[in-house]
């Protein structure tokens, strides 16, 4: 009778359902997208908070040389749709400051400007508004004022197109030149898609790999600590437990990544129109699976050897730190993706999933480097699974003090059961 895959499946299913009900998992999985959506939407929300409020602004021009328009349209950012909300700023001229003050106190105007006589020398304009006035509308006003000042100063001295250039000096367009020499225009969204998304994916991968392999570590250490491992081993082999756990928690990780990517697509589609390249997704998937296998089997080995949950987390911390190196050197990878150190990080199995995806985001990584990186990772996964499997079989039932490294090494080589 071949009950091997069946029991492995039972273990996998148990691990999956147990983990997705954990509070930590639910928090991690749903808090992150909220955070992302929050980060992408919040600035838009803030700037678009009160755009539709019309206001009347008084002004006193002590230089006597400014021409204010009667009113201007002010465009505010809005969320979601492309519908632009506008507000109107109406300007009212006063001869005396005291008149303007009275009008402000009477509520006829929301604020007033004083343009001092020495404006040309100092560039200072004074804005007076009532106490507790929200400063948001004042910010809008100050950007409009620059335009008014430029227009007033230059209107009769330069031609229309020069005036426009002074108002809005540079407008950058991005082009990519392909191998055959053709050029294509890139929008901001494209730049974000090719640059930001792989990095974002790399981050998500890292978090997902850490959280699911962390669940594995916890599971093994807990089962060992509360001794249920002995009952499990009387029913299934260590290999079945190990395989089942890795499959079950791997599925948890994929589910988590799926939810996050969906949130990214939804969130970014809402705030910034981007699309995720199938190419990026494919490599993200490959690196996730391999990276997860690598870390998960390593965590299983650590969980088997150590005596308690706390101890296992301390030991695992060393490896987790190594894996987080690409984050520490993110700046370096981003600015210098082709440097030997960046290449090393993208080939070294502990750091390669994250480092390679990040590099792929900022530069065209030679395909052979990607293949070599995947190959090294594959070999490492194989070796780690082999070693962890041995540790798993040897140490699961040894309670008490953690064995010395030398002893572990001896047992890996001779494996007694």
């Amino acid at each position: 009778m071949n009950s091997f895959p069946e029991k492995t499946f039972i273990v996998a299913r148990h691990e999956f359902t147990k983990t997705i009900k954990r509070k930590e998992f639910l928090f991690m999985t749903f808090f992150f997208p909220l955070l992302f959506v929050g980060i992408s939407i919040l600035p838009a929300m803030l700037s678009g908070m009160n755009p539709a409020e019309d206001q009347k602004v008084g002004y006193i021009d002590l230089t006597g040389s400014f021409e204010f328009p009667k009113s201007i349209q002010n465009e505010g950012l809005s969320i979601g749709s492309s519908e632009t909300k506008t507000s109107v700023i109406e300007f009212v001229m006063y001869r005396e400051i005291s008149d303007a003050k009275q009008a402000l106190q009477a509520g006829q105007i929301s604020s007033y400007l004083v343009i001092p006589e020495d404006f040309l020398k100092t560039g200072t304009i004074e804005l007076y508004s009532p106490e507790k006035e929200t400063s948001m509308s004042n910010f809008e006003l100050s950007s409009e004022l620059s335009d008014i000042v430029i227009t007033s100063l230059l209107e009769d001295k330069v031609d229309e197109s020069t005036l426009n250039r002074v108002r809005n000096p540079v407008n950058i367009k991005f082009y990519n030149i392909g191998k055959s020499g053709e050029s294509s225009e890139r929008g901001i969204a494209d730049i974000f898609a090719s640059f930001g998304l792989p990095i974002l994916t790399a981050f998500l991968l890292l978090f997902s790999i850490f959280s699911s392999s962390g669940f594995l570590l916890r599971g093994v250490a807990e089962e060992k600590e509360n001794r249920i491992i002995e009952i499990l081993l009387s029913s299934v082999t260590p290999t079945e437990i190990l395989t089942g756990k890795i499959l079950g928690l791997g599925a948890v990780g994929l589910l988590q990544i799926g939810i996050w990517l969906a949130a990214v697509v939804f969130g970014s589609g809402y705030a910034l129109p981007v699309k995720i390249e199938p190419y990026t997704l494919l490599f993200a998937l490959i690196y996730f699976v391999l990276g997860f296998l690598f870390f998960a089997s390593m965590m299983a080995g650590i969980g088997a050897v150590t005596g308690s949950l706390q101890e296992s987390q301390q030991v695992a911390g060393i490896f987790t730190f190594a894996a987080a190196l690409p984050l520490i050197f993110m700046q370096l990878i981003l600015t210098n993706p082709g440097s030997p150190f960046s290449v090393f990080l993208s080939l070294f199995p502990l750091t390669s999933p994250i480092a390679m995806l990040t590099r792929m985001g900022v530069t065209a990584v030679p395909i052979f480097q990607i293949l070599v990186s995947i190959f090294i990772l594959l070999i490492s996964v194989y070796v780690v699974i082999l070693l962890s499997g041995r540790l798993f079989r040897t140490y699961l039932l040894m309670y008490g003090k953690r064995p010395k490294v030398k002893e572990i090494w001896k047992n890996i080589r001779t494996e007694s059961r």
Binding site: S3, K7, R227, L233, S416
Partner: protein, 308 residues
């Protein structure tokens, strides 16, 4: 061919060592189907290792192990239920889910496992707790659950390692009744324990280990007979009778034990002869051939082994 007397467990010259330390040396024994078999011995005797070999958690260095006539395999694991000495349950899992999972790992289909779990919980009046997490249950309840987790998949062979440790008298009785009930229904039970009183009451045959070696093996009654000190316990209606029996020839030694008296006959003196003599000289209210308790044999054997 139909085997009437198939053994539930057979060990043939099994040895196991860890880092050159012999844990079990050349152990042979068999457990008959339908019996309660005691696995006795002091701490460190090798009982747990023997059990782990039987469960295929560990592999022997040499020798053969068979369960129901088959060499160990995933299938034999499914036929064995195990209550380990070190108790363990999933603390944060719902009671019913945990029992179903453990039964599934023993190869039982989910539906059947669920039915069994429900009916077992009902039989112990625990069914109102089936959706509670294990950590929410009292210690006594957890012990019952631990026992259930060993029998939920209806194993033919049940290995109980110290099943009474930490149990209050009421739960001890519940578990004892269950063990006897399981034997009555034809299950084979291996009972590993320090509690000699329970072993003496429950076990048909025993194997006693010391430092990895077999020191005693056989039916409990025979072992007790073999280790008999050949003494008699006697009680009289009148106290004065004691002097009368001192006159009987063939009695080596007399020890007064409160109301009763223990007599040690000389070599070659039969019980029958002594009884006849006693009846002539005194008014007897009790006459009993004594057997040492398993506990006495246990201690005596250990002492004699350590003196060697």
């Amino acid at each position: 061919m139909y085997l009437i007397l198939m053994h539930a467990v057979e060990f043939e010259n099994v040895s196991k060592s860890f880092s050159e330390k012999n844990i079990l040396e050349n152990i042979s024994f068999s457990v008959r189907q339908g019996e309660i078999f005691g696995l006795l011995g002091p701490n460190g005797a090798g009982k747990t290792t023997l059990i782990r070999l039987l469960l295929d958690i560990l592999r022997p260095d040499s020798g053969e192990i068979r369960v129901f006539g088959d060499f160990l395999s995933p299938t034999t694991k499914n036929r064995i239920g195990y209550l380990p000495e070190e108790r363990g349950l999933y603390k944060k899992t719902r009671l019913l889910d945990m029992l179903v999972y453990l039964a599934q790992l023993k190869g039982m289909p989910e539906n059947q496992a669920r039915l069994n779990a429900e009916s077992l919980l009902k039989s112990l009046e625990l069914d109102q707790y089936k959706n509670k997490k294990v950590e929410e249950l009292s210690k006594g309840m957890q012990q019952k659950i631990q026992f259930l987790s060993a029998i939920i998949h209806e194993p033919e062979l049940l290995i109980l390692d110290e099943p009474f440790s930490g149990l209050d008298p009421v739960n001890t009785k519940t578990v004892m009744v269950r063990i006897l009930g399981l034997r009555a229904s034809g299950k084979t039970i291996i009972l590993s324990t320090h509690m000699m009183e329970q072993a003496q009451t429950l076990c048909d045959r025993i194997l006693m280990l010391n430092k990895g070696r077999r020191v005693l093996y056989g039916p409990v009654d025979e072992i007790r007979k073999e280790h008999g000190k050949n003494s008699l316990i006697v009680e009289f209606a009148e106290k004065g009778n004691l002097n009368a029996i001192r006159e009987i020839s063939g009695i080596k030694k007399i020890i007064e034990r409160g109301k009763s008296v223990e007599l040690f006959p000389e070599e070659g003196i039969s019980v029958q002869f002594l009884l006849e003599e006693l009846v002539r000289k005194a008014n007897l209210t009790r006459f009993e051939k004594t057997f040492p308790s398993l506990n006495e044999i246990f201690i005596e054997t250990l002492e004699s082994v350590s003196n060697e």
